[in-house]
């Protein structure tokens, strides 16, 4: 397998960076120069659990993103973009708040941002805009509902489901997640084969089946769904945006967060088994101590299903872009394509529910499609999800608030990017929200080096910690842990990371 980006390409892109910084967006090739940036709209499109590693746009051998590659011809493409965490809650919260998980503290499953920081969010920052949001993912909706006072339109997720639990969600609006979970456990046997209900299950299932019957042939692995029979199609969501966006009061900012290609990987029939019999062989990697005992054959199967699911989102994003283009809205609208975290199929691990922070689970795509841009710019500098918020404010002519921890992305600033800038990601799902980080995985990326520090896990034995150091430029697959052999750089980065952890833990230590 080819690495997502090889050394030569890395250096070439790094060279382009300096050009793109010194030849900013005001030069020919961008049509936005003559427009009033204060009136431009913003559309943020997030596909959940979309790893940059699996996109052909970034060098993956399977052609998973033909449409994205086409659209990249007029976009700014970020090659080393990192999520704030390795699952939805911390990843999305970092994107929406422009702060790292240890600042917003939404690192537990389905957590909210801490109260003092509730107003430090993308939608509050765009207070003069019409703000509209939608997400299939209930974890995202927990955050969106927290920011509800800064939203003009929060579209409930069941609105774009084929068959849904709408009455339950409407009846228990303030406690939707637990009410829905209980309802699912009560009346839906799903894969487990049993439910709380003794008598109503079969009737309910028949009723729901009737509503989705006509869509079933289009999805040979079953209809895309979340939590039981909340079935949906991306076509439905894309059509909704395409038909509504022209009616939004302008300027608007839209945040749309779709579940695919998140598990379960249920692609459209057009892409079914596209990669089932190709000759692709992933790079062999050693079993991780946190492995889930998944065999190579299982991982290969899931990877193929995931890659086929990416083809579906690629098609639908391409279709959305064309629909928007036809309406003319793109002449005045920035489109951001990204993800909240990645997914991995290696080292005995499948998915993203894991303590590890290897590249496939934290490196995500970022493309910014600028109004009127006709050429492509590639950015190799490492960037972070927390940079998106300040960048969007900057490109729409607004000031960046003090609470934002990220920086304006190249090429939108004439400031030279700080080569020694440190980027972080955090996994701390088991920690109490307001306690110091006791059990956590923390990533520090600086230049081409990446240090990951694991602490507090039982599996780590007596030492209670593990340290990994990789040179992403020379070893993008993270095959060789350099920490034992390159103590100097390793210790320097570890000291910096531990000092940072001490700093962020300090407010939460009891006196």
């Amino acid at each position: 397998m080819q690495p997502p980006i090889d050394r030569r390409e890395f250096l070439k892109l790094a060279g382009l960076l300096s050009l793109s910084v010194s030849a900013p967006r005001f030069l020919p090739g961008t049509a936005a120069a003559g427009q009033d940036p204060g009136r431009q709209n913003v559309l943020v499109i997030v596909f959940d659990a979309l790893s940059a590693y699996n996109l052909s746009l970034y060098g993956y051998p399977r052609e998973t993103t033909p449409n994205l590659a086409r659209l990249a011809g007029r976009a700014i493409v970020y090659h080393n973009h990192f999520a704030g965490g390795n699952f939805t809650t911390p990843g999305t919260a970092s994107l929406l708040t422009g702060t790292l998980p240890w600042t917003h503290r939404a690192f537990r499953y389905n957590a909210r941002v801490i109260e003092p920081r509730e107003q430090d969010n993308l939608f509050h920052a765009f207070e003069d805009y019409y703000r509209v949001t939608y997400s299939h993912n209930p974890l995202v909706n927990t955050l969106l509902k927290q920011f509800n006072r800064d939203l003009d339109l929060y579209l409930p997720r069941e609105r774009l489901f084929l068959a849904n639990d709408g009455p339950i969600q409407n009846l228990f609006r303030n406690d939707e997640d637990i009410a829905t979970t209980s309802w699912v456990r009560a009346v839906k046997r799903n894969e487990v084969g049993y439910s709380y209900s003794l008598f109503l299950t079969h009737l309910y299932e028949k009723y729901q089946d009737l509503k989705i019957e006509k869509y079933k042939p289009l999805f040979p692995r079953g209809l895309p769904n979340i939590r039981g029979d909340n079935y949906f199609t991306l076509e439905q969501a894309v059509d909704w945006i395409g038909s509504q966006v022209g009616d939004f009061p302008q300027p608007f900012i839209g945040y749309f967060h779709f579940l695919p290609p998140h598990f379960p990987y249920k692609t459209h029939q057009e892409f079914f088994e596209r990669f089932a019999r190709d000759k692709y062989k992933p790079v062999e990697k050693p079993e991780d101590i946190f492995n889930q005992k998944k065999s190579p054959a299982t991982l290969l199967k899931w990877r193929s299903w995931y890659d086929e699911f990416i083809l579906y989102i690629d098609r639908e994003f391409g279709r959305l872009y064309e629909m928007l283009e036809e309406t003319g809205i793109l002449e005045n609208t920035w489109v951001v394509f990204t993800s909240d975290h990645g997914e991995l199929f290696e080292r005995g691990i499948s998915g993203h529910t894991t303590p590890v922070l290897h590249q496939p689970v934290v490196r995500v795509p970022l493309l910014i499609l600028e109004p009127g841009r006709r050429n492509r710019t590639d950015i190799a500098t490492p960037t972070s999800a927390i940079d998106v918020l300040p960048t969007l404010l900057h490109i729409t002519g607004q000031s960046v608030p003090d609470w934002a921890e990220g920086t304006v992305l190249p090429p939108f600033t004439t400031d030279r990017q700080d080569a020694s800038r440190s980027l972080y990601a955090l996994q701390a799902v088991s920690n109490e929200q307001l306690s110091p980080l006791a059990q956590a995985s923390t990533m520090l990326v600086k230049g081409s080096h990446k240090l990951v520090y694991y602490s507090g896990y039982d599996k780590l034995g007596d030492t209670g910690e593990r340290i990994e150091l990789y040179d992403l430029e020379a070893d993008p697959e993270e095959l060789t842990n350099l920490y034992p052999s390159q103590k100097a750089i390793g210790s320097e980065l570890l000291d910096e990371l531990q000092a940072k952890l001490e700093e962020v833990n300090r407010p939460y230590r009891s006196t």
């Binding site: 499953y109 389905n110 609006r173 406690d175 637990i178 709380y196 209900s197 003794l198």
Partner: protein, 196 residues
Amino acid sequence: MIESPTVQNKTWYTRQGLWSLFLICALPIHLWTLILAVKDFSWVSERTNAWDAIGLLSYGMVFAFVESLAVTLAAVLLGFLISRQWEQGRRIALLSTLVLIAALWAMAGQLYFLWGISIPGTILGFLAGTGHPVRILYAVGLALVTPTVLIPAYLVLESDRVFQAVQEFSGRLALLAGLYLLIDAVCLVILVARNL
């Protein structure tokens, strides 16, 4: 106590009879919900917190109450098909017995998955070899279920001893069901608190 046929046969159901039937319907439904919700408790509390786990159980119990009402309604409607040549007490006892048997079979059906039981390979091989495995499975199911419904039904209608035993058993179960309804009331309060 056996009711006087001269009074009771004039109406399909008395208030007392309906209440008794409702309690019997509520019992297995609540019991099953409680067992599975408690089983889910740690799964939820580990991922969110204990309050959410309590919430999950509370919703489950309230949904069980609604299901109990629905099943009672179905049983009442079924009762209209039973001839009034039998007194109301006997008809209620018959309906209670049918509901309990149906609940036991529903539980058995779910236990198959809950305990991860699998049909032995030799039986599966035999079924596959017949050419009509689904038909045979249905036939076996029918052969098992039919006598468990017909025999108790016949005995409740025709045997005073069985009828009295069912009535006594129902009376005791109804007490337990009353306890579950009390839990429902607490769960309802929890639901209101969570949705405020």
